[in-house]
């Protein structure tokens, strides 16, 4: 049965990068519990617009948990408290009448705020550019099954490739480390024969880029794994560490 609730939002409002900012409080009345969290913000924004105020800026695109655009910290939990979901998949039925919800953007030096809840995640693109690819010559496409790959390995690579680059791992990490994201991107390639060829260079280049971008240092707190909407495992971080040891201490790659 559809139910309506009245709640209070405390939202981080920031007009642009490096401007003085803080929390604003807004009532959200008559919110259907069937709404998604983003639909609830849409409703609040409609009212703000009618009142002649600036609507709350937030990132979103697919609204079905596949694009990785959405995300905010809801009462201290990245993408809200539900396990394995993005913010757009999180529903208002998890709240009760009279609740106050604190909404904050991802907070990390490497993710500067653009406006309100919108942060610049191009640091992730730079990590990918540093080595998150394989080099293939153009020409006729090779036969799909010409390189045999064990099913378990293919599954592990696919699990790592499920990362949508949303940044919740950085947001949830007490150290603002990007190790879960970087390890997923390193793993999806390192596990497959096509990715092995450049594995050493890739591990070194991506870790160096990650450091250069001022992400924090992983201390195995496991908060990332708990908050990741795609439930990427920290066994990928251990794989990154192994790849890094092989590349940095054993291989001759610079």
């Amino acid at each position: 049965m559809t139910k309506s609730i009245n709640i209070t939002l405390k939202v981080w409002r920031q007009k642009g990068p490096h401007v003085k900012s803080g929390f604003e409080t807004y009532p959200a009345t008559d919110i259907s519990t069937d709404m998604s969290f983003l639909e609830m913000i849409d409703v609040v924004n409609e009212q703000l617009t009618l009142d002649g105020k600036d609507p709350i800026a937030f990132d979103h695109d697919c609204r079905e948990g596949i694009c990785g655009m959405c995300g905010a910290v809801i009462n201290g939990r990245s993408h809200g408290p539900e396990k394995g979901t993005t913010l757009c998949q999180f529903h208002m039925r998890h709240f009760s009448n009279g609740d106050t919800i604190v909404i904050e953007p991802w907070r990390a030096k490497a993710f500067p705020i653009i406006k309100d809840l919108v942060v610049d995640r191009s640091a992730f693109d730079q990590i990918i550019l540093a080595g998150g690819y394989i080099s293939v010559n153009t020409g006729g496409a090779p036969d799909a099954n010409s390189i045999p790959i064990a099913q378990e390995i293919a599954e592990l690579a696919m699990d790592a490739a499920a990362c949508i680059g949303c940044g919740a791992c950085v947001a949830a990490c007490p150290n603002a480390s990007a190790m879960l994201f970087t390890s997923a991107k390193i793993s999806q390639l390192a596990l497959l024969p096509q990715g092995r060829l450049e594995a050493a260079n890739r591990a070194l280049a991506m870790v160096r880029k990650m450091d250069e971008l001022c992400f924090g240092n992983c201390s195995n707190e496991r908060e990332c794994e708990a908050e990741c909407p795609k439930e990427i495992s920290i066994s990928n971080i251990a794989r990154l560490n192994r790849e890094f040891i092989k590349a940095g201490l054993v291989s001759s790659v610079k």
């Binding site: 939990r77 940095g248 201490l249």
Partner: protein, 213 residues
């Protein structure tokens, strides 16, 4: 930078140094505890253990130097990692909630580590940098632990150490790349068991010495 220091200077490299030195300390704790347990065999048994240990001469000095180097690496790297991670989030969250990953140990590593540093200095002043020509090590112990303040300080320090290794032991394996569906749950359990053994093993020595008096 050269080809070895360059990888070691990255975030992952620094973590590797933490893991290797931290595991070294865990080995030290195990040996130190095994030795100290001789106290339950009575004061003569304990004093003879101490004599045997010191009769190893240069080997002991070598181990001490090794521990000193490890401590320097562990402390300086740990401090740097902590500082860098603080800087990585200049504006903190106003609401902080755990998602279930963090533990008491993992959340307090830099703080428990710092207290351990203070304790190690205190401990060395008590029992290492003292003139032992006219006194047995056991007498030294019983003099110290006749004072309840010392018992209190040592008990707190041992609990702090137990908290530090409850995360540290498992974490070091993860950092070294050892994560496996079969063994990681075991290692996480082992960390807790190790911390309890360290806590109880070292923790009761001051009390025991006090009761012997």
């Amino acid at each position: 930078m050269n080809r070895l220091t360059n990888p070691l200077g990255t975030s992952v490299g620094k973590k590797l140094m933490m893991a290797v030195t931290g595991l070294g300390f865990c080995c030290f704790l195990t040996i130190h505890l095994a030795g100290n347990l001789t106290i339950y065999g009575g004061k003569d048994f304990f004093n003879s253990y101490v004599e045997h240990l010191h009769s190893l001469g240069p080997l002991v000095t070598l181990a001490e130097l090794g521990l000193l180097v490890f401590a320097a690496i562990h402390i300086m790297t740990g401090a740097l990692l902590f500082y860098q991670s603080l800087k990585a989030r200049p504006i903190r969250y106003s609401v902080n909630k755990r998602a279930g990953g963090r533990t008491l140990g993992s959340a307090t590593m830099p703080y428990t580590g710092f207290i351990l540093l203070l304790f190690v200095i205190f401990h060395l002043i008590n029992f290492h940098f003292v003139d032992k020509t006219n006194i047995t090590t056991f007498q030294l112990l019983s003099n110290a632990f006749a004072n309840p303040v010392y018992i209190f300080i040592y008990t707190v320090a041992v609990i702090i150490a137990a908290i530090h290794v409850s995360h540290g032991l498992w974490s070091a394996f993860q950092t070294l790349g050892a994560n496996h569906p079969k063994y990681t749950p075991f290692l996480r359990g082992l960390s807790i068991v190790f911390s309890v053994v360290v806590g109880i093993g070292f923790g009761f020595i001051p009390v025991y010495v006090f009761l012997l008096l």
